[in-house]
Subunit: 343 residues, 2 copies
């Protein structure tokens, strides 16, 4: 089933050694990240047993904890020495987890990070409600922290995320979606929480507005690149690496940049193929392979990676105002890591 | 289809005139309630057109606006003279609406207040996401208000509501549920938001803790009574009056106090009837009528109304510390109105 596109063929042992990785970054924030994990475990408790069960399934399953990592790294970059970033990084992860739970209901996904998704095990109802609980819990933790600035950043982000998800729903199955509309969707539904996560690092450290804005820009652009690469990986990764089945987006008729570009670059016959498979969801055996052939022939997967590189450049430059040092270097490496995932 | 149980037969023109109504209360807060309605309309705007469409469908459809009414009345009882209660009453309604949208997804309801429910028109996905948007919007409004006390009350309430909904899901279709467990569910999922709505009236007026607690107790006990009566009405109201189909709860196998009491008071044959219809959902023609016959023969509908009266008494006494006056009188009448709905 899993078709490997040429993107993956570049891998070899030597290249593997040169690949950017997150080891240095994770070592630098290791102590804080453990505290965040403990905070998450402590605060997803509830007398209602299903809540920690279901929340534990999705949270403990791991994932990259990328968003809390961003808060911790940003706080360190800002020389923050308190401990407010621990609870706030947990808030960010709770909000992210709530959106994942609701996303899986919306997408009717059966898999999440290679495991059965919560809705597949406990049903859509429980996923909706436990998502609501985690979202509320995040606002309880923010209220306990007491910063109206943080509350503003994360309540604004949450509203924008929901708007982005609704926008995505409205443009679903529409291969004529413009690149701009698609970027608006991923900016809202993915990048906004990255931006909030990084900005909070500067807020707790009480840094000047210029640094808050720099970190927000870093998070926003990194988030856009991250989502673009995620969309590429849906057509190139094998299921084990991504925890997803290759072609999930295609089967759901999800319109992502590789599809948008293939539609725009295609001839009438090709466009009819996209209308049939993505818009009308009339899919037959071999359609996924044909979709990937069209994407490859028009270079839309590699070009989507190139688009991502653009946002990575902006993210790297946003960090320019911070002095050199090991944490800044690791945050720059993280940018490379994000696009490198596609190879 | 709609079977009218004897509870409704007491109605006559004369009694109708004596019945408590909300007219005085609504007249007292009329100016404020108009402002709340405007605030709701202004703040459910979004560039994503589906959001005001869907939110407008459920919010503009009306309903009783009972929770914002409670905030406005409580603020007036506390002689509050500012305008913070307007935005905060809108927050309470946004949170309520978000839970309704998610509830309808969980319950797979096709009707809400006599109209097609949002999920029936726009699908579950949109209802989940617009619910998330309204929830986020509520926290944006609270953050703009700037009171950490209010943020604490409503984020705590939101978490408890979600816990209550999950608890209800876990006890669903279980006729052996205890009365205590059922009360815990309705206290969490319904009464907690009533209590938050009333308490906020005292908070904005900066009244002493004793008055905050009194109003919280009033809201909590009123909320419990309200939900108990709602559960009775599901077996007695005609669809036009309630905006629901008689027997919805039964068909979904929802365990409410009238069922719990009928199960406990029934013999083995009757208990097997409840296991078959409520637990295994193996329902046949005539089962709803049989369920209502069993409830009537054991007096469980009237006894549920009596249980509600108990909470109404507590709610009335909670207001005792406030000086007499027209708004206190109206809030007391509201308590009578809630139980009177069952007749």
């Amino acid at each position: 089933m899993a078709t490997i596109v040429p993107l993956n063929e570049k891998r070899d042992a030597e290249a593997e050694n040169r690949r950017p990785n997150l080891d240095a970054l994770l070592a630098q924030i290791d102590g804080d990240l453990r505290k965040v994990n403990q905070h998450i475990l402590d605060h997803m408790k509830s007398p209602v047993a299903l809540i920690p069960q279901l929340a534990g399934h999705i949270i403990a399953a791991g994932g990259k904890r990328l968003r809390p990592v961003l808060t911790l790294a940003s706080a360190q970059l800002c020389n923050y020495e308190g401990d407010r970033h621990i609870a706030l990084a947990a808030c960010v992860e709770f909000i992210h987890t709530a959106t994942l739970l609701h996303d899986d209901v919306v997408d009717e996904s059966d898999l999440r990070r290679g495991q059965a998704s919560a809705n597949a095990i406990w049903g859509n109802e429980a996923s909706v409600l436990v998502g609501d609980f985690l979202f509320s819990r995040a606002f309880q933790l923010m209220t306990a922290d007491g910063s109206l600035d943080v509350l503003r950043i994360l309540s604004d982000a949450s509203a924008v995320i929901a708007e982005g998800e609704v926008l995505q729903l409205m443009t679903a199955n529409e291969p004529t979606t413009t690149e701009e509309a698609y970027l608006e969707v991923i900016r809202s539904k993915t990048a906004t929480l990255f931006a909030a996560a990084t900005r909070i690092g500067a807020v707790v450290a009480e840094r000047p507005a210029a640094e808050e804005e720099a970190l927000e820009s870093y998070g926003m652009n990194l988030g856009i690149a991250f989502q673009l690469i995620d969309d590429v990986l849906d057509y190139s990764a094998d299921q084990r690496a991504l925890g997803k089945t290759v072609g999930d987006d295609f089967r759901e008729g999800k319109v992502t940049l590789p599809v948008i570009l293939a539609y725009r670059r295609g001839d009438d016959t090709e466009r009819e193929f996209w209308h049939r498979t993505i818009e009308r969801l009339e899919q037959e055996d071999g359609d996924l392979e044909e979709a990937m052939r069209l994407m490859t022939s028009h270079g839309t997967l590699t070009d989507t990676v190139d688009r991502a590189r653009h946002y990575c450049s902006v993210a790297r430059d946003a960090l320019g105002i911070f002095p050199k040092g090991p944490i800044k270097q690791s945050m720059t490496d993280l940018v490379d890591f994000v696009t490198d995932r596609a190879y």
